[in-house]
């Protein structure tokens, strides 16, 4: 059989193909783009991450979104080039291990990205229970006079409720992913388009509802639905934040320094653009550079437009001082003991109109994005595990595929580990280290970009790079992948430096160091332990990663 690259070559007058068989993959580039837009987590952005930027009160959120997204574009070019040259399931692991060496590939992917994915899904499901389902059920229960619905809405926001919500979500994710990528792509496509309708409705709502109408609705919901004890919830939040020492500013009073410093917070979502790399072996047509570019650069620019617009409209509607003050009061001013419902996403959505039909429409349609987005944590995590098992650094069983080409055993293990992580998160102490996800993600992706940067220069890979159709792209004699890699690494160095040395991000503490250091040490022990075990059984692991010489 042949592949799509050869077919593409047939379009020139020098190439004469004979009749022979062909093959494509389960995902199209369009599916890849959608997958990546999901990976960037617009839902998480609106429901969670944007609210965390209050720690830099002088930040201009919409501008910060544009800067952060543009800063990731060079990295997107590196990923697109790696995807074109080496499209493989478990992309980051394969690229790092083949370019930098087996140990580095395993070390920087196993814990940061493969195990990390089991933590990502825990925290990604959180907004669904707290910021989406709970307020929706509670307010609907109040409107319809069904107290059990109200109680269920309250319960779903408790630790127990969140955990069971997570369990149900995980079962759904395992079902969708285990049914094969063809089914996954179809579900993903339908939910994407329905979610897009919800998103557009929401955007239009924010455009046409005035600031005063928003305030009136907001105050009404908190007074009448939640019985918060004030008819001016809006003013109370502003006053309480000021009293507590928070210095809110209007959008015109923001500054560039704080705007850049929210980059490491926004990276939590926008670095997700690199997540599709793990699936690159299953996307048809990615050997065409243009299509790979669409998947990565298209996704980050789409996310920039969607999130930038959402951020701007939310702040324009609610006021920057209120938005940051409400976030401050939720995260640093007492949370649910201060205010009975998280004062963002669902509350903002509901404050656009007092009509329950409107709430249902927007939340159910926009909620479709939520239904599929965290499942790509399962897809990505299992692809890394699959690739590692294929190299025998993890048990061979993880590389077993079902009739639907799903690594069913890897999915099973992923679900079990995620359940343990979920339990630790909701009932143990894992919640305190959830911020470390940003370090895990950026470190894992940064090493891939470093591998791409060095690709044309390392003796083992140089020939392969220049033999590829992308070897011709140069700028003042420097290979494009290296140039883009260096530009990208500058931004990644900034991100990692901030995480490591700036206490504002909550990651430069002892528990983070212990968690990250412990995870990395265990990964190294696992790698060398497996190598020794395999060696004893006659498998030379070093050979797995090395390229066979031609002579």
């Amino acid at each position: 059989m042949s592949d799509t690259t050869v077919e593409q070559a047939g379009s020139t007058k020098s190439v004469f193909l004979r009749q022979s068989s062909g093959l494509v993959r389960a995902f199209t580039w369009w599916d890849g783009l959608i997958y990546n837009i999901y990976a960037i987590s617009v839902v998480a952005a609106c429901s969670l991450i944007f609210t965390l930027t209050f720690v830099f009160p002088g930040a201009n959120l919409p501008l910060g979104i544009v800067i952060a997204c543009l800063a990731f574009v060079p990295g997107c070019v590196v990923y697109a080039m790696l995807t074109t040259i080496m499209p493989r399931a478990g992309g980051d692991y394969v690229w790092q291990s083949r370019i930098l060496g087996g140990f580095w590939g395993f070390w920087f992917v196993f814990f940061p990205l493969a195990v990390g994915a089991t933590i990502f899904i825990v925290s990604n499901v959180l907004p669904g229970a707290v910021a989406f389902l709970s307020p929706l059920l509670y307010v609907l229960g109040t409107e319809l006079g069904i107290s059990s619905l109200q109680q269920f809405g309250n319960w779903i926001a408790t630790s127990g409720g969140q955990f069971w919500f997570f369990v149900v979500f995980l079962a759904w994710a395992a079902f969708v992913v285990g049914s094969g990528m063809r089914f996954y792509a179809r579900v993903q496509r339908y939910l994407f388009f329905i979610g897009m309708i919800g998103l557009v409705t929401w955007l239009v709502g924010m455009l046409i509802v005035s600031h005063d109408a928003f305030k009136t609705n907001f105050n009404s919901i908190l007074a009448n639905q939640y019985h918060w004890g004030t008819t001016d919830a809006y003013g109370k939040i502003l006053a309480d934040a000021k009293k507590a020492g928070f210095s809110a500013v209007s959008l015109s009073g923001t500054n560039l320094g704080d705007t850049i410093l929210i980059g490491p917070i926004l990276a939590y979502i926008f670095a997700g653009v690199f997540w599709v790399g793990n699936l690159s072996g299953e996307i048809g047509g990615v050997r065409q550079f243009g299509l790979s570019m669409r998947i990565y650069v298209g996704a980050i620019l789409s996310a920039m437009v969607i999130c930038g617009l959402l951020g701007f409209l939310m702040i324009n509607l609610t006021g920057n001082e209120f938005y940051t003050s409400a976030s401050y009061m939720w995260w640093a001013g007492g949370g649910s003991t201060y205010i009975p419902v998280a004062p963002w996403l669902t509350l903002i959505l509901m404050s656009l109109s007092q009509s329950p039909a409107w709430w249902l429409w927007v939340l159910l349609t926009f909620g479709c994005w939520f239904m599929i987005w965290p499942t790509n944590n399962v897809v990505g995590g299992t692809r890394y595990v699959f690739a590692m098992a294929f190299d025998r650094i993890l048990p061979a069983r993880f590389a077993s595929v079902s009739g639907k080409n799903s690594p069913i055993f890897a999915i099973g293990v992923y679900v079990v580990v995620s359940l343990v992580m979920g339990w630790l998160y909701y009932f143990g102490n894992l919640a305190s280290i959830i911020l470390d996800q940003a370090i895990l993600l950026t470190a894992g992706f940064a090493v891939t970009i470093l591998a791409g940067t060095l690709f044309p220069y390392l003796p083992a890979t140089r020939q392969r790079y220049f033999d590829s159709p992308l070897g011709k792209y140069k700028f003042v004699g420097i290979p494009l992948i290296t140039l883009m890699g260096v530009l990208s690494l500058i931004y990644f160095a900034f991100l990692l430096g901030e995480y490591a040395f700036n206490p504002t991000y909550g990651t430069n503490n002892l528990s983070s160091a212990a968690f990250l250091g412990g995870g990395m040490v265990l990964s190294a022990v696992l790698y060398f332990g497996t190598r020794m075990y395999r060696q004893r059984h006659g498998v030379n692991m070093r050979r797995v990663y090395e390229e066979i010489p031609e002579e």
Partner: protein, 309 residues
């Protein structure tokens, strides 16, 4: 015994050389090439003035005679295509006359395979067994070339002795494809071929199947859904493997079953007690995907490691 298996190298010089290197690199004493060894087509290299040019991988490449031309030809051959220096008249003939194209293609294949075998004769260690079989994309005329080479065992449609009591059942034929390729048969014919060979296997627990097409619905055989114009439908795959192969594996339960054919459906699965592997193929990327298998006369299948060399 260390057995290295790879497949679907599709005319790539680079893959062939890596295949030969696998002997020393992986310390393998049996090398098996599992079919689809012939490339996909010709690349016309046009003489012009004092040099040459061609369009390849979307890029117009120019070369002067000597090192530059050699490098150009190397790149094309590494990719699995056959470069042919041809005048505009010859190229025009290929476009209008299928027989002229087929003759040029056969000449290029024959030259390439002879060159490969000469290189093999130069590099092969006397004790290493090299088994070559065909796939559905391989024209029938290559059989005679391989059969004439004493340095390899051409195992197509035969049960081959691997040594240490192990045997290998080889079959390059596939079920019917939409492309009407060179070695296709109905499921009934495939079942009969497998049965005929399997009944001559002395011990199935020491037999390795080397069957080009993977078993149906095994996860090793996901291919595209095609529309009426033979274009792949976006994002849709279906199992394209063989029912007869699946039934053959389940009925005879060999120790191991090695496959190819569907490049991007690499994986490992089990049918009954039999471990089935498709190492896949990435020959256009310059990567030789294969699997290194350790067999022991007492323990049978000791280990298998998919490799991307």
């Amino acid at each position: 015994m260390e057995l290295y298996f790879c497949t679907d190298i599709h005319g790539s010089d680079k893959m062939w050389r890596k295949f030969l290197s696998a002997e020393k690199f992986y310390r393998a004493n049996v090398l098996v090439l599992g079919g689809d060894v012939v490339g996909k087509g010709l690349v016309a290299v046009h003489p012009e003035g004092r040099g040459y040019w061609t369009d390849f991988l979307g890029e117009k490449l120019m070369a002067r005679p000597g090192e530059e031309l050699d490098e150009l030809l190397r790149r094309i051959r590494a990719f699995g295509m056959y470069p042919v220096v041809a005048t505009d008249v010859e190229v025009g003939l290929w476009e209008t006359n299928p027989q002229a194209y087929e003759a040029a293609f056969q000449a290029a294949v024959t030259e390439s395979v002879h060159r490969w075998l000469a290189e093999l004769a130069r590099r092969k260690t006397p004790d290493t067994r090299i088994i070559v079989t065909c796939g559905n994309d391989d024209p029938r005329y290559v059989d005679a070339i391989f059969q004439s080479c004493s340095d390899i065992i051409f195992g197509e449609n035969e049960v081959t002795d691997l040594g240490e009591g192990f045997t290998m059942l080889n079959m390059g034929w596939s079920n019917v494809t939409p492309w009407n390729t060179h070695r296709e048969a109905t499921e009934e014919e495939l079942a009969a071929r497998i049965e005929r060979m399997a009944l001559s296997v002395p011990d199935m627990e020491r037999c390795v199947f080397n069957i080009h097409v993977p078993p149906y619905n095994s996860g090793l055989d996901n291919g595209p859904v095609l529309d009426s114009e033979m274009r792949p439908a976006p994002g849709q795959t279906v199992p394209v493997g063989s029912h007869a192969v699946r039934e053959g594996i389940l009925r005879f339960q060999p120790l191991l079953s090695l496959h190819g054919h569907v490049h991007e459906s690499r994986g490992v699965t089990k049918l009954g007690r039999t471990v089935c592997i498709n190492p896949g193929s990435s020959y256009t990327e310059g990567v030789l995907q294969g699997v290194l298998v350790r067999l022991d006369k007492e323990k049978g299948l000791v280990s298998y490691s998919p490799m991307q060399g």
